[in-house]
């Protein structure tokens, strides 16, 4: 029997953007091999990592993701010749930008997982889930979404009154 699964106080939401030829197939293999991994990840299938727009990552965080995974074919293995090479540069730049505006890059994982690497898929997903779980809820974007234009504090009675009237 399997050991009783530990219940966690916080289950992070992980969104994975993967290419269909390598990582999606690798995740399929993990399934076929009946490997076990945390259920937090939701997989979005793309033809290629080359199709993955940085906007999607931003969108995923805004939509409440606590962690994002982008995964595709190993360099040289792209089904579309070079899509993953383009993606590699795109995300190398984008993660620097996110880092600069204050996103903790521990929440954003990139990986190459081939169709033969069911085990690696499990490892990547498990590691990211546990890492993000330890970090806790990604509050930044969620708080941002709740905020109104005014970012200052309503610290005078007049302002309070004016605000209430809105």
């Amino acid at each position: 029997m399997h050991p009783e699964k530990q219940k966690h106080a916080f289950e992070p939401k992980i969104i994975a953007f993967v290419c269909t030829w390598c990582t999606y197939a690798g995740a399929d293999l993990a399934g076929t091999s009946r490997m076990q991994y945390p259920s937090n990840v939701r997989v979005l299938k793309f033809p290629c990592t080359g199709r993955i727009d940085p906007v999607f990552i931003l969108k995923a965080f805004q939509q409440g993701a606590d962690g994002v995974l982008v995964s595709g074919c190993h360099p040289g293995d792209c089904h579309y010749i070079a899509g993953n090479f383009h993606a590699r540069r795109r995300f190398a730049a984008f993660r620097k930008l996110l880092e600069f505006v204050g996103v903790d890059l521990n929440r954003l994982q990139f990986s190459w997982v081939s169709a033969a690497e069911g085990g690696k898929w499990v490892e990547v997903v498990t590691d990211l889930t546990e890492k993000v779980r330890a970090m806790g809820l990604m509050t930044e974007f969620k708080e941002l979404a709740l905020e109104e234009q005014w970012s200052g504090t309503i610290d005078t009675p007049e302002l309070k009154e004016a605000y209430d009237q809105i």
Binding site: H2, K5, K13, I15, T20, W21, C22, Y24, A25, A27, D28, L29, A30, G31, T32, R34, M35, Q36, Y37, S39, R42, V43, L44, K45, F46, P47, C48, G50, R51, I52, D53, P54, F56, K59, A60, Q63, G64, A65, C73, G76, D77, C78, H79, Y80, I81, A82, G83, H86, A87, R90, S114, A115, A116, V122
Partner: protein, 665 residues
């Protein structure tokens, strides 16, 4: 408002064991836009598909989500079913709740919640799916076969016999591959060259086969039905058209002591040579590295003696482009060596066997050349160091193979059989000798194979010792073999005169580079990956490219020939139509938004983006926009991710669809 039908598959118990499928159907049924939701034992079965079709018609469904296995498994099945029910197939999506959910989670609650979300995500996606028309592309009915071993030869002959032109490209100066090197073949012990050379001649004489030896694939562009292949014809320094194959040049060449690779470096050849007498084409090639003319500018003897004047020192590598509709990859194998490997490489050598430095420890192919009547010893088994006949010969199986620590975990499949064959050949040639075989298992699945192996023991008196050899070392002119017999449970030591290692089968060197040119996938050993291990064993995931022989995995001759014929059959199936339907997952430009920055063109791996001028009625140029050739587009979507204004869109993976999925979470 869409009327979406959701169908949750139990997959027997594969899904329903960990996912509460009824609950998924119930909860998903509540989602806006979902008009119908149900679960069924086997959606992919006939009754399952009928259920789907019936629901589409009765419920007037506009979109369909099938929550079952991976779309890589059955997307095609369900899209076909949807099409049969009158819907555009691309209005159907699959939610993967088996490989990505029920199989990887144990907690039923967790798995069920996840399944609901996965299906919900696909429901949101499918709402944004558009009707996609089928795209047809023309098929060029010519095939390229890469590799001129038995696999390539068989595939080429089969396709050519069917009346289609074949381009056969071989890297070496002659076709024939490894099979031409073998002495006899198991399990019948018929002479390899006797059955191989007629086929080689057939290739040379076939009116439909264009043979390019001493040539390599430089570049592959295009897609199924329409590949453009650039082939590098390496300078042979001998004009194939003029050369009569008389061989005078080879006789006169003053450089004579170059180890012949074909003879596993046991025999010698001149600088202008054919690798073996039955070579096809029988046209020599000048080995420029060793040729005096090329090294010093002097000599030129071969040119002087060549009657027809075929020797041409000025020849250069040339590139030629061939248009083909299908490609058969048959690049074969290479043998593992026990040599020291570079640090950090996946594959490791055998220091305990002397890293290949003991001269009389040879590999199986070397033994083949020794045993071959046309080999360097004329078929006498003589050991390389001193040319003596070995009286105690030890064969060791599974060298490299099945040795995870050495970097290879797979079984090389043919070694058990060829080692059994070697013991027989040895017994036939050295009557007073004794052959010993160290082995772990004898794997002999094949027609008459086990009988063959047993014959080597029962009739040819090979002594098989179950147990791996720990170490080999030279002691005087003997090689001490330290092994054990695990059936007896004692250590065994043999002082052998010669040791033959059944080294692992590996893909050809450069298999990965070729795969990258072809855009096909390969495993960590560089064996090419078939589209499906069981159901599509000769097709690559890349459409229009097929696999034959050991490049896909270790194989013996009958299996190789079978697969080659199967690949040829697949090519012929493709060629049976003039036009080919392809998945309409291609990029489309929205001209209104396009400002013609052509970033799409810059990133397109297929060169599918063209520039298109938009003019008004008077013919004045309004603007230049991008145009994606749907026949050429591979469908990766890199253009869309790159386009700043998102004016190019990949059908089937539009921003709308993806954002809908993200927003559903």
């Amino acid at each position: 408002m869409s009327r979406i039908g959701v169908f949750i598959c139990h997959c027997g118990e594969n899904i329903s064991r960990t996912v509460d499928v009824e609950r998924v159907a119930r909860e998903v049924g509540q989602l806006p836009g979902v008009a119908f939701s149900t679960d069924y034992k086997y959606m992919c079965s006939d009754p399952g598909q009928n259920l789907l079709k019936k629901a589409i018609q009765e419920q007037k469904l506009s979109h369909v989500v099938v929550a079952a296995c991976s779309p890589r498994m059955h997307e095609r099945t369900f899209r076909k079913a949807v099409e049969a029910a009158g819907l555009n197939p691309f209005l159907c999506e699959m939610a993967n709740i088996r490989e990505h959910c029920s199989w990887v989670h144990e907690d039923k609650e967790e798995a069920t919640v996840k399944a609901v979300e996965i299906v919900g995500m696909m429901v949101e996606r499918v709402k944004k799916n558009r009707v996609l028309p089928t795209i047809t592309v023309p098929v060029t009915k010519r095939a390229l076969v890469i590799g001129g071993g038995i696999a390539g030869i068989q595939a080429a002959l089969d396709i050519a016999d069917c009346g289609h032109e074949v381009i056969l490209v071989e890297r070496e100066p002659s076709i024939g591959g490894h099979m031409a090197q073998l002495s006899e073949t198991f399990p019948t012990l018929d002479c390899s060259q006797c059955i191989m050379t007629p086929k080689m001649v057939d290739v040379a004489n076939h009116p439909k086969i264009k043979l390019y030896t001493w040539s390599e694939i430089e570049r592959v562009e295009g897609y199924i039905g329409n590949f453009q292949v650039t082939i590098k014809r390496k300078a042979r320094s001998v004009d194939e058209d003029k050369c009569t194959g008389c061989g005078v040049c080879m006789e006169k060449c003053p450089v004579r002591k170059i180890p012949n690779k074909f003879d596993c470096n046991l025999g010698m050849r001149p600088a202008i040579y054919v690798p073996f007498p039955q070579a096809v084409p029988n046209t020599p090639v000048i080995d420029r590295e060793n040729c005096i003319k090329f090294k010093t500018g002097k000599c030129g003897l071969c040119q002087k003696v060549c009657g027809p004047g075929a020797v041409d020192y000025e020849q250069e590598d040339i590139l030629i482009v061939e248009a083909v509709g299908a490609i058969v990859v048959a690049t074969g194998f290479d043998l593992y060596t026990i040599d020291e490997k570079p640090k950090g490489s996946l594959i490791k050598g055998y220091g305990e066997f002397g890293h290949g430095k003991i001269p009389d420890v040879v590999d199986g192919m070397t033994f083949e050349r020794l045993a071959s009547a046309s080999g360097p010893t004329g078929g006498k088994i003589l050991r390389p160091s001193d040319g003596k006949e070995p009286k105690q010969i030890v064969f060791i199986q599974c060298i490299g193979s099945r040795a995870r620590e050495k970097g290879i975990s797979y079984c090389s499949k043919v070694c058990c059989m060829y080692t059994a064959k070697h013991t027989m050949l040895y017994h036939h040639k050295v009557h007073d000798g004794q052959a010993y075989v160290f082995f772990m298992d004898a794997r002999t699945p094949g027609k008459s194979y086990d009988e063959f192996w047993r014959r080597s023991i029962e009739e040819e008196e090979a002594v098989y010792i179950r147990g791996m050899v720990s170490r080999l070392y030279q002691k005087g002119d003997k090689i001490v073999v330290m092994g054990s017999d695990i059936a007896v449970g004692v250590q065994v030591e043999i002082e052998a005169d010669m040791v033959v290692l059944a080294t692992a089968i590996q893909p050809q060197k450069g298999a990965d580079t070729l795969a990258q040119k072809l855009g096909i996938s390969y495993d960590k050993y560089n064996f090419y990956s078939e589209a499906h291990a069981k159901l599509r064993p000769v097709e690559c995931a890349t459409a229009g490219i097929y696999l034959a022989g050991a490049c896909q995995g270790p194989k013996d001759i009958p299996d190789t020939v079978s697969q080659a014929s199967a690949a040829a059959a697949k090519v012929m199936t493709l060629f049976s139509k003039d036009k080919l339907e392809r998945e309409p997952i291609v990029a489309r430009v929205k001209e209104a938004g396009c400002v013609g920055c052509f970033y799409c063109k810059k990133v397109c791996p297929y060169g599918a983006v063209e520039e298109k001028e938009i003019r008004d009625r008077q013919g004045n140029l309004i603007k230049v926009v991008a145009y994606v050739n749907p026949g050429v587009c591979g469908g990766c979507g890199t253009c869309q991710a790159t386009c700043p204004s998102k004016s190019v869109e990949l059908d089937g993976y539009t921003d709308e669809q993806i954002v809908a999925m993200i927003e559903s979470l």
